[in-house]
């Protein structure tokens, strides 16, 4: 069973990702509401895949991605972005991410991105 960490300040987005993945047997091991909390949970939980929102209060997704990459260069990270965040998406690509999910998204897109990330890792 693959273990998923969700980092997103929007409760509804965390709810959507959890609702898409749990019925398929993925285990949601944690939910963080900002980048700093996400880094702490990543260290403690060592998830197989992390979904990471870009725009968050306190510490945004790009800063969290830089921190996680320094500690775990091969970590499977899927960035969650909005259509108008092209510059942030480019920065995330340079930092190395497994995939992007562009908001608004449906369940199939989440499932597809997570399954691809897991397949690549195995």
């Amino acid at each position: 069973m693959s273990r998923i960490l969700i980092i997103d300040d929007a409760m509804f987005m965390r709810h959507m990702i959890r609702s898409a993945l749990e019925p398929l047997g993925f285990e949601i091991v944690g939910e963080a509401v900002n980048g700093a909390q996400g880094i702490d949970m990543f260290r403690a939980l060592k998830p197989d895949v992390t979904t990471l929102d870009i725009i968050m209060p306190e510490m945004d997704g790009l800063e969290a991605l830089r921190n996680i990459r320094q500690e775990a260069p091969l970590a499977n990270i899927i960035m969650v972005t909005a259509v108008d965040q092209r510059e942030s998406m480019l920065q995330a690509m340079r930092l190395g991410v497994s995939d992007f999910i562009v908001k608004p998204f449906d369940d199939d897109r989440v499932i597809s991105a997570v399954q691809k990330a897991i397949n690549r890792a195995s």
């Binding site: 300040d9 929007a10 987005m13 709810h15 108008d84 608004p104 998204f105 449906d106």
Partner: protein
């Protein structure tokens, strides 16, 4: 057709597509037109100063100033939450607010990108914030907190269609004088693209 109407048709078409994707076709938006109004006129259109409504506010451009307040009636709030969360999610007020934030984000992004394209100004969106209050109080709070806003607000009338029912919603667009002048100076017809 006035230029602003044509821009808004494009904006709402984009927003409807994204809403359709988010809700798997269970929620759509019907655009019903726009008009410039004073703060006092808009308050009365929202059902009176005493009604408690939910508002989602966000900045769309930082300089020049462009802000949005999307107002959900109690019926629209419940209808949207029921579509995305089911009956079981309605008791979680924080989760319901988060649904409204996401819907506000869809409309805010469509408006910011749509207007930026025609006005040649940079998009700078803020995270959407949710409040419950009287519509007039929320509007007055925004007008009072941003000193360079113009005297008029652009009101976008729309209906959120959720299955068998639909509910009235309104989006209020606040901008400074510089942006208003740019909107007024746009050509009367957008060339086909």
């Amino acid at each position: 057709m006035k230029i602003i109407e044509e821009i808004m048709h494009n904006v709402f078409s984009a927003a409807d597509g994204n809403l359709n994707r988010l809700t798997a076709g269970r929620m759509r938006v019907k655009y019903e037109g726009c008009q410039y109004s004073s703060l006092e006129e808009i308050t009365s259109l929202d059902g009176g100063e005493e009604d408690i409504v939910s508002g989602v506010g966000m900045t769309l451009m930082a300089s020049p100033t462009l802000m949005m307040l999307m107002v959900f009636t109690p019926e629209a709030r419940l209808g949207a939450a029921r579509i995305l969360l089911g009956e079981g999610g309605l008791s979680n007020a924080e989760l319901v607010d988060s649904v409204l934030q996401e819907i506000g984000n869809i409309f805010g992004s469509a408006l910011a990108n749509g207007l930026a394209k025609y006005l040649d100004e940079p998009v700078k969106t803020s995270p959407p914030e949710v409040a419950m209050d009287m519509a007039g109080s929320m509007l007055a709070s925004i007008v009072g907190s941003v000193p360079d806003l113009g005297d008029e607000i652009l009101l976008l009338n729309m209906r959120l269609e959720t299955g068998d029912s639909d509910s009235a919603c309104g989006i209020h667009i606040f901008f400074d004088e510089k942006l208003r002048e740019k909107i007024d100076a746009l050509p009367s017809v957008i060339s086909s693209e």
